[in-house]
């Protein structure tokens, strides 16, 4: 069992959303270390840094400047080095078509951004404890799909 903190990255260009997310995650019991980036280029640069420890979980906004979430998703899933990384899409869209599309492209989790802080906190708690289970219980990550509305 790994008792180190869970390493998380949030890629989102909206300043308020990042702040909101950080506050919510800090209230969750599981120990986490969070890094924030503002767009897809920054994210991919961070993930591609050689020798750097691969995070456990990335939250990916779909609409970002320079490189959007879908492009990042495709790049991450083509990179064998990042195969153990769980990807959570964090988007304002709740369209079934968008949700399925990201799952098919290899996302593990889909979260529709809520407007309420308590709702966000509960959603993140669920995502993180479940990801923790996959991380520590040897579950098959290829079958890890979670859709939260």
């Amino acid at each position: 069992m790994n008792h180190d903190a869970l390493h998380i990255i949030l890629a989102d260009d909206d300043d308020d959303d990042r702040l909101f997310f950080k506050d919510a995650i800090e209230e969750i019991k599981v120990k986490t270390v969070i890094t924030m980036v503002k767009d897809g280029v920054e994210l991919m640069d961070l993930l591609n840094e050689p020798e750097k420890k691969i995070p456990n979980l990335v939250f990916l906004d779909l609409n970002m400047p320079r490189k959007n979430g879908m492009e990042c998703l495709n790049e991450i899933r083509r990179n064998h080095k990042l195969k153990d990384l769980s990807i959570a899409i964090y988007s304002t869209s709740g369209l079934e078509k968008d949700i399925e599309e990201t799952f098919i492209k290899g996302a593990n989790i889909y979260i529709k951004k809520p407007n309420d802080f308590e709702v966000l906190k509960n959603m993140l708690a669920k995502v993180i404890t479940l990801n923790w289970q996959y991380h520590t219980s040897g579950l098959n990550r290829e079958n890890f799909l979670l859709n939260i509305k």
């Binding site: 799952f103 098959n140 079958n143 859709n147 939260i148």
Partner: protein, 185 residues
């Protein structure tokens, strides 16, 4: 072409353990449930060497007693959930008896270490089994519901939806398309 394999995880792990223990010339018995009895004492350097060698197989040598107990609970749950047909016994009684500890103690330790409950871990494992069975595609949901002790297909579907946010058929469709997508690239 594609080859399909079916493996016995317990056997794989046991063979890896035997090979690694033999390599260090230790005298041992593998007692099952993730326990190895070493006949004589093991030197700290050999202990570390064994720990290092096992890590690359995803096997962890554990030291903290709470973690050990949690791992035993997880192993027992995994074992029961992967039986061909799940027994009708109450899981809390089964665990208490198998691990020879009061269920309350097991439940508290589990929650403290994993931030979740035994019950939700059992449900998570059952849903994982359902996912794998859906992918293998040998049985209908009705058959699965019966085998895995869900009271009906409707319960299986609603538990599946509650845990994953998806219906079993959406899950099946996504996994199928994902595979097609991988092969077309």
């Amino acid at each position: 072409m594609k080859l399909h394999v079916k493996y016995d995880i317990n056997l794989c792990c046991k063979i890896v353990l035997q090979e690694q223990l033999d390599k260090l010339e230790l005298k041992y018995t593998i007692t099952g449930l993730g326990e190895i009895e070493i006949k004589e004492s093991i030197s700290p350097s050999k202990h570390d060497e064994l720990k290092g060698n096992l890590t690359k197989y995803g096997i962890e040598l554990m030291d903290n007693p709470k973690n050990i107990l949690v791992q035993k609970i997880k192993d027992a749950v995994t074992e029961i959930v992967h039986m061909k047909t799940l027994p009708n016994t109450n899981i809390s009684e089964y665990l208490a008896e198998k691990l020879n500890k009061a269920y309350g103690h097991l439940a508290n330790t589990f929650s403290e270490v994993t931030y979740t409950t035994i019950q939700s871990f059992v449900m998570l494992q059952k849903i994982e089994r359902v996912k794998q069975e859906i992918i293998d595609g040998n049985e209908t949901l009705t058959e699965l519901a019966w085998k895995l002790n869900f009271s009906s297909v409707a319960h299986l579907s609603s538990d599946f939806k509650r845990i994953t946010g998806l219906t079993p058929s959406a899950f099946q469709r996504i996994i199928k398309k994902r595979k097609e997508n991988q092969f077309s690239e």
